[in-house]
Amino acid sequence: MKKPLVIGSLILLILIIPPIRIYMESIMIIHMLIQLPLLIVVGWFIGEFLMDKAPRVFELLNDNGIPGIIVFVAITMFWMLPRTLDEALTFPLYELFKFISLPLVGILLVDSWRKIKVFGRVFIFLNYLSMFGLMGWLYLDSPIQICNNYLLAQQKILGWGFIFITALMVMYVLQYVFTDHSAEEDISE
């Protein structure tokens, strides 16, 4: 089962290639809503591989999934702050931290997501729903340029991006709660 490792590393490699990296980071919405999530996806794939290889480590560190998901929330919230995006462009150390921390929480996410069951997933999902809505609102309404590296117009586009994601999430919730789940084996806990 090396496939996830290969896929994960490949995506990471592509993201690191300087022209691609610099291009992605030059546009705010791509930086925030494509590059950062892709780094988490990298972690997700690598996590699948590692879970297969060393399940004991995950049991030891992240038995019920809660420590992992807390770190995940903390790190992703950190990267949602407008100013961190800015500093990643200014300080190489920040950039390095970005490329390490996000794959890392991706690894934690894939492990935790299975363990926190339906209840935990719904809770996390709804939290991100309101957080994304709020971020969209913040970027759209801000009368000032928040980042040094991105212009006001870029901020607005990013704001609509967040609103778009929030709308998709709302539609997902609606279809989930109003379609039938009685045939499913176990959606307990």
């Binding site: 209840f119 809770f123 609102w137 309404d141 009368p143 039938d180 307990s188």
Partner: protein
């Protein structure tokens, strides 16, 4: 099902639910005292500084809504748990988070003078003209956020459990019965229908509330981040209106469960019942716009919708419930005691309380009555005489089925004392409103004072009556588990 194990499980659930009711009941009684202090101040009887008045207003509004919601959630959880499998662990988390939230709010209001009223309308939390500082605002806003998180956990669990048992929230509302796929006799029980409605509307409310609370927190920490105030008001009232409204929809479950048992008659779910609850679910979500009838920037269609649907909002459920309750009780030879009496009183209070609300939701009337004491008049009636009465109906019910504590003459006196006093307080607000007394004013002109003083006196009787209710409940808690009446609970298969 009547095994000892099953019974033991139910008993330990009783303890948890009792905690939420005791906490809620005591908080309600304490908040009443702040209500009396406000009326005394407005009536010119005592001297309260303006700053203190608004702290009282803030704690009274927040505390009453929070405490009533806490206790009502206990009632809902108790009955819903008979039909679906809820998690006890989550309920404990819910209690814990609410408690932490309350403590933070109290500290923010009393130690740091936070006084934005419970509606914390943006940008007031950050712009207080130095009446309070950043710390107070943050304590209050974070307190509300934590409290809301507790409720969100609870509703995720009820939603999860309802979907697991019935397939979807639509089916929890009985949509498959309405579409003819299922027989009416197989419809979900009333407690499940009501809980599904509350789960839907309150989850929505809490998500909107979380967003607007965090927005306020950002603005308080760094005022250079500003937001569109009209959207903020929309989200704030989507949260506040829905959350406060849902209290009565949780409390009414006790009426559904208790009256048929007492009257020894079935109260079957009908298609009309299901339609009514679905309509109220939809209306409750959109009519918060009646809080914005004065905001000219709002799209006109939203306001017209707010007005039209506000008329229609509570009515479907109220009508099927009041009518159903009458039919169950009528000539049934029902035995009246505190629990059934309070349940019946609550139906009366709800019905009467809706009338002034409907009047005020009319745009033409609202132009005159907006922000007068007419508004607290209507919601004190239907909260104080409706929702809160349901909660105490439940505490007497629990005491009856789970202990041998007897009701005394004193309880009966308290019943009438409560009914009359709460009615008097509501009437006092309505009279003030008719006199054009503005709401939320620390100081009244002499011509406005008389009703306030009258209300304060009634308030004292109300506190006494409420204390007697609580004492009965505490006596139950001390004698919990001693065999109760023949109405003893069994989990339906």
């Amino acid at each position: 099902m009547s095994t000892a194990i099953e019974n033991k499980k139910l008993k330990s659930n009783n303890k948890l639910v009792s905690t939420s009711l005791l906490l809620g009941g005591v908080l309600i009684a304490v908040m009443m005292i702040f209500g009396i202090l406000m009326l005394l101040a407005q009536g010119g009887v005592i001297d309260v500084s303006d700053a203190a008045f608004y702290q009282f207003l803030t704690i009274h509004g927040t505390g009453m809504v929070g405490a009533a919601a806490l206790a009502a959630a206990g009632v809902m959880w108790y009955f819903l748990n008979r039909y679906v499998e809820l998690s006890k662990k989550i309920f404990i988390w819910f209690l814990g988070l609410v408690l932490i939230g309350v403590v933070l709010v109290v500290i923010g209001v009393f130690s740091f003078k936070y006084a934005s009223a419970w509606t914390f309308l943006y940008p007031l939390p950050a712009i207080s003209a130095n009446a309070w500082g950043v710390t107070g605002a943050l304590l209050y806003l974070f307190g509300m956020l934590i409290l809301g998180t507790g409720f969100l956990l609870l509703y995720i669990d009820t939603g999860r459990a309802i979907i697991k048992k019935y397939g979807s929230l639509g089916k929890g509302l009985g949509w498959d019965v309405l579409s003819g796929k299922k027989k009416v006799s197989d419809a979900p029980p009333k407690a499940v229908v009501a809980s599904t409605m509350v789960t839907i509307v309150n989850t929505t409310a809490l998500i909107a509330g979380a967003a607007v609370l965090i927005m306020n927190i950002i603005n308080v920490i760094n005022p250079s981040f500003t937001f569109d105030p009209m959207l903020a008001k929309n989200l704030t009232y989507a949260f506040g209106h829905i959350f406060a409204n849902a209290i009565i929809y949780m409390g009414v479950i006790v009426v559904y469960e208790l009256l048929p048992k007492y009257a020894n008659r079935p109260w079957a779910v009908s298609k009309l019942f299901l339609v009514a609850w679905t309509m109220s679910t939809a209306f409750t979500l959109v009519i918060y716009t009646h809080h914005m009838l004065m905001d000219f920037a709002m799209p006109k269609w939203m306001l017209i919708m707010g007005q039209a649907l506000s008329y229609a909002n509570g009515l479907p459920v109220l009508v099927v419930t009041a009518y159903g309750a009458l039919m169950v009780v009528y000539k049934s030879g029902i035995k009246w005691d505190m629990a059934s009496g309070l349940a019946f009183l609550s139906m009366f209070g709800w019905t009467v309380g809706v009338v002034p609300a409907v009047v005020d939701a009319t745009i033409v009337v609202n132009h005159v009555m907006h922000n007068t004491k007419w508004v607290p008049g209507h919601f004190h009636m239907y909260m104080g005489l409706g929702a809160v009465v349901m909660l105490f109906s439940f505490t007497y019910y629990l005491a009856k089925i789970d202990s041998n504590v007897k009701e005394s003459k004193l309880d009966k006196i308290a019943f009438w004392c409560y009914a009359i006093a709460m009615f008097a307080i509501s009437a006092q607000f309505l009279v003030s409103g008719a006199l054009s007394t503005p709401r939320r004013w620390a100081i009244h002109y002499p011509g406005w004072m008389t009703p306030a003083v009258f209300g304060a006196i009634a308030g004292v009787f109300l506190v006494i009556a409420t204390t007697i209710f609580i004492i009965h409940f505490v006596r139950y808690l001390k004698n919990r588990g001693t065999v109760g009446s023949g109405l003893n609970e069994q989990k339906p298969a």
